[in-house]
Amino acid sequence: MSAGGNALTRSAPWRGTAWAMGKLGISGRMLVIAIPMLWLLVFFLAPFFVLGRISLAEAIIARPPYTPLFERGPDGTLTIIASLENYRFLLTDALYRNAYLSSIRIALVSTIFALLIGYPIAYYIARAPEPKRSILLLMVILPFWTSFLLRVYAWMGFLRNNGVINNTLISLGIIDSPIQMMQTDFAVYIGIVYTYLPFMILPLYANLTKLDGALLEAAGDLGASPVVTFFTVTLPLSLPGIVAGCMLVFIPAIGEYVIPALLGGPNTLMIGRVLWDEFFSSRDWPVAAAVAIVMLVLVVAPIMWLQSVQNRRGDG
């Protein structure tokens, strides 16, 4: 009754607008959907098409440094200049294939380590009693308050030859000369796992807190040991959290540029760096655009696969 009363007291202009929108066939529901759609259109789809269009051009010395899409001939005819040459070039040079493979490998290994480290932490936090749980959760989120760049620089201070780790080990007499850790793949893994660990923990935590304790009790009552209960009940039920966490780590890691640039060595080959070289050193925007498009496809494919895995689970 009170809801109806409110509706009656709505001001006239609002009713007028609602009426006008109804006339035009625009419902409030559509408006709500339209805003994020518009956002995606302007900030994702449009740049993607600009990128796609540049990837079909050819690099020239000009401003901007690529051929125009349309060229007007002397007789006024309009010709479209586009070629897949840049994509063919990516296929013929082993560098790009190696860079993609190497990026996927680094992202995959980092994701596995983040999962192995993140799962027990998320599990522990989800099982912790309330006041402690909030504090633990805060400790996971707290590092975000410092700039990501500063935290990677802090790792440089730890891993350097005369950094904290080597100096401690030397003063303890465990090693004689410093272990080279900076400028190695090892440092890149540390950097990526450290940086993206919270992205693994948070979705896992959200999933594990919702886990129904009665199911675990039931498993126990039916004679399952804690280990068996974990692998037959907890783990399968937390799969959506695992998938979400893995996606949140894998996707940014595959295109990572900053961490390998700061911590990695000359042998660390990642697609982010190749992209930088094409854009800045070769000044070849079209090839850089093609590299980016291929990378986008490579990233979208595993997301869709994981999404379908999740959907199948949801249906079953």
Binding site: L95, N161, P266, F280, S281, S282, R283, D284
Partner: protein
């Protein structure tokens, strides 16, 4: 007022403000650690033009901004080899010599060398110049190669045997193919200005043979690493290495860094002051460039950044220990061995970048 009218009025007000701001501001985009703040303050005090100063650390970054267009900068400082290509792309406007009376102060020989990249010096004047050589930790190198080893040689970088003895204390190379390939050519006895694909392949093959001795490829990290002893040998730019030497001395950790110009030949490069074609305030840009060419201003910058200027009238005003230092102002005999860079065409550029990636990554 209807909402539309308000919007239009607001827009006009913003436009007027932007116009007013542009009239007395010059937007300068220069290399990091490449000027002293006093010079900028003095410029504003003398001309009433405020300076909006921003920095970059590679020619590539600058070039990407310029080629994208509407960079919003009035004065930029590319290296001459990059300037040449950017002029071809139509990035710069010709200088108005009537607004630059201080051009008379410039060293004619150096300006003639820069004219190889900018015929008639129509688009740019030299800001500072320098050489690409070797920064080294005096004690660490002497310990490994003996006190008598003469360090002014690319052997320290390219000879697998000698570089192998230095590798444990850390060697870094510039991540800049346009500096590294000419240096490799000089060591191999090839023409450092070669644009022959076969020469690039040979040099890349040679560099791949010693890349195991390289700890990293980077164009600015080596300054602090040399200074705190993290590395002991670096291919670097003269003034940057000397800044590392200065920092090491200030730190007082007993680390002594110095700079050597290899006797096989080293690159002499010029950083040029230019005005983009779409600069919002070209008059202020000319005023700024003219101000930099004042002898006392050029000398003050050199005294601070330890890179030589190309201002003949400023030479006597530079601190004596800087102007007599052969690492900063090379002796005439050494100057004979220096060579200038060349601008590669697009195809050579692609070859060079690809080969450099293969050197850097071993792929």
């Amino acid at each position: 007022m209807t909402p539309n009218r308000i919007l239009v009025a607001a827009g006009a007000a913003i436009a007027m403000q932007a116009g007013a701001a542009a009239a007395d501001t010059v937007n300068v985009f220069n290399w990091s650690d490449y000027i002293t703040d006093e010079v900028l303050e003095q410029f504003t005090a003398e001309t009433g033009i405020a300076v909006n100063y921003d920095v970059y650390d590679s020619n590539d970054t600058l070039e990407a901004r310029l080629l994208a267009g509407s960079s919003g900068f009035d004065v930029v400082v590319p290296t001459a080899t990059f300037l040449q290509r950017q002029i071809a792309a139509g990035v710069y406007q010709p200088l108005n010599r009537d607004l630059l009376p201080n051009l008379d102060n410039m060293d004619p020989a150096l300006m003639a060398a820069a004219a190889n990249h900018d015929p008639g010096n129509e688009h740019a004047v030299i800001y500072m110049w320098g050489t690409t050589g070797i920064g080294y930790n005096i004690d660490a190198v002497a310990e490994r190669l003996g006190e008598d080893f003469e360090v002014d040689t690319w052997d320290m970088i390219f000879d697998p045997e000698i570089a192998g003895q230095l590798a444990d204390c850390g060697i870094s190379w510039l991540d800049s193919p346009t500096d590294m390939f000419p240096a490799a050519f000089a060591w191999m006895g090839l023409d450092p200005q070669s644009t022959d694909a076969a020469d690039f392949e040979a040099a890349a093959e040679m560099m791949k043979g010693v890349r195991d001795t390289v700890r990293y490829f980077h164009s600015s990290q080596y300054i602090s690493d040399l200074a705190n002893g993290e590395t002991c040998v670096a291919v670097g730019w003269s003034g940057d290495v000397l800044q590392a030497a200065d920092r090491a001395e200030e730190a007082g950790q007993g680390i002594n860094v110095w700079y050597a110009i290899p006797r096989e030949g080293a690159m002499q490069w010029f950083d040029m002051l230019g005005i983009p074609a779409d600069a919002p305030n070209p008059e202020a840009a000319h005023a700024f460039i003219n101000f930099i060419m004042k002898p006392e201003v050029a000398a003050a910058i050199t005294n601070y950044v330890w890179f030589p200027n190309a201002n003949a009238a400023a030479f006597e005003l530079v601190d004596e220990d800087i102007r007599t230092d052969p690492a900063i102002y090379p002796t005439p005999e050494v100057t004979e061995t220096l060579f200038t860079g060349v601008t590669y065409d697009s195809r050579t550029d692609r070859t060079v970048t690809r080969l450099w990636t293969s050197v850097r990554t071993g792929q």
